[in-house]
Amino acid sequence: MIFTIFKKELIDTLRDRRTLMAMVIIPLVIFPLIMTVFTSISKSYSKDLAEKTLKVGVLEGQDNNEILAFLDTLQTSGKIELIAYEDSNKLKSEIKENTIHFGVIFPEDFNSSLNGNQTGKVKIFHNSTKLGYKEQLEMILEMKTKALEESRLKKLNITKENINPVELEFQDVASDKEKIGKIAGGILPYFFIIFCFIGCMYPAIDLFTGEKERGTIETILTVPVTRVQLLIGKMGVVVCSGLLAATLSLLGLFLTLNMGTVIEDPKLMEVITGILSPKFILTLYLLLIPLTIFFAGIMIPIAVYAKSFKEAQSIITPLNMIVILPAMVGFFPGIELNLTTSFIPVVNIVLSTKEIIAGTINYGYLGIVFLSSLILAGIAIFFSHKQYSKETNVVI
């Protein structure tokens, strides 16, 4: 009987455009599309910036010096364009107006400081709201400052070793897999948890609140099935929708990465592809199933209580934030899977996934995560049943 209910609700759900949009189209099409477009725009912006001529304002009448001469030579390559200004105020206002990118002002004693083996200070005015430009100029000027440093050391007859008494050499023992797992591993659970939640949302509202709104609830309550059978059949569809959305979001993510426009480093790509082992997928589902039941268990009582689709949506949508915030934990360094975090719902799944990707999972903690998720899922089912058994909740 439960399977009959499940099958009917699944067919009904898969024919709902809103659910299909949230469950299939967004994770599998829209999301990869946005990611690809975003990466392409970002790459094209960086490329444009690298090829752009930096307009540098200098004050008229300044003594020539090595930096100015260096910038002047770069004018022929088109990297730099020097523009002369009579006074510094005009120079600053033109930076604000984005007519030029930088203003370089040298103090009067710049040359004498340099010749006297002192530090020559250069004032560089810039607009920090124009992202990326400062780094471009820093990179260009670093070439000259390094050259000046080397020539001064040579002139003074000292080597680099003379002024560096200690050289720190850090040797990273972490494998690429570990590094990716710990640093970027938070992205994966973030996406599948969010999509899992959204994937549960519309079917939960449609199958519970929608049934009240459409008046089909009275029909179904007069057939010889128990409320538990109805609840389990419907909940099964909500859980499957969440799992399907999560799966498709992962598929979408991997398809995007495999298109080659997002990650170009083959070494990184090899590690990412290697994550998709049957063991990883199996463990992931082992964690995802109780989490999805828990999500369904949060939404179903609300959907049962709400009198209209709008009301249910207005209560459940803000819950998204409650899920998004713990799902973001994976992005923060320093938060590790331990005895405390393995009991916190959503956070425990995020941290476990990170550890699994990195290959550093502690199976004791993984067991706690699984068991605590199972208990939560059980509580969610119990609470859903309690709400679904209330006459006044079920029938308007």
Partner: protein, 256 residues
Amino acid sequence: MIEVENISKTFKLSKKQKKELNTKDEFSHAVKNVSFTCQPGRVFSLLGPNGAGKTTTLRMISTIFKPTDGSIKVCGLDTQKDELAIRKKIGFLTGSTGLYQRLTPNEILNYFGKLYKLSDTEINQRKSELYSLLDMESFQNKRLGKLSTGMKQKVSIARTMIHDPEVVIFDEPTSGLDVITSENIIQLIKSCKDQGKTVIFSSHIMSEVDLLCDDMAIIDQGEILFSGTMDQFRSEMKEKTLTGEFIRIVNEKRAQ
């Protein structure tokens, strides 16, 4: 047969409901000490204005609600003890076509047939009988969302009758329907009576009651104001029309 004995139904009021009703009472009494009997082969009507307690009474008979007090027996079975067995024997139909818009009539009848534990052969046999009776062959595989109100109502009727129930409960079955669609329902009620089924229906339209009923009860504010046969009602009438008499009884009680 339906035997309703002194049933009452109270609902706990929420803060919002108390405010809306401007009351300090914790409970609202939807139905108070209601008793009546519906016999097989006869049509019983529950007549009352909006909010009288008709739907709550029918929901208790069809096991959707449990009575707070009293007892209901359907075909000799207690609604509080044998709800699943009773549900196999009843068909429930409302005026608002509560059906799944994304499914086809065929899928809906298959689904309900399975829920009533009919075999595939029984389902197919009943479907072909109902399709021919209600002239549904042409749209059996079209999704409900694309059908007209009349077609949807036919699907509702077929859904109600798929398991050939002994007792049929109609809750304001013609409410909001056009004349032609309402006629389908009236014909269904007549044919159920002819087949010896127990039929109960709620309405606030006196002409419908006059046309179809053998027995009736007038209900208002959860209480039965009259219960008896249609002949008895007509013989005791103080007004010229049935509608006039119905209004007089309701107003007289409200004035007390």
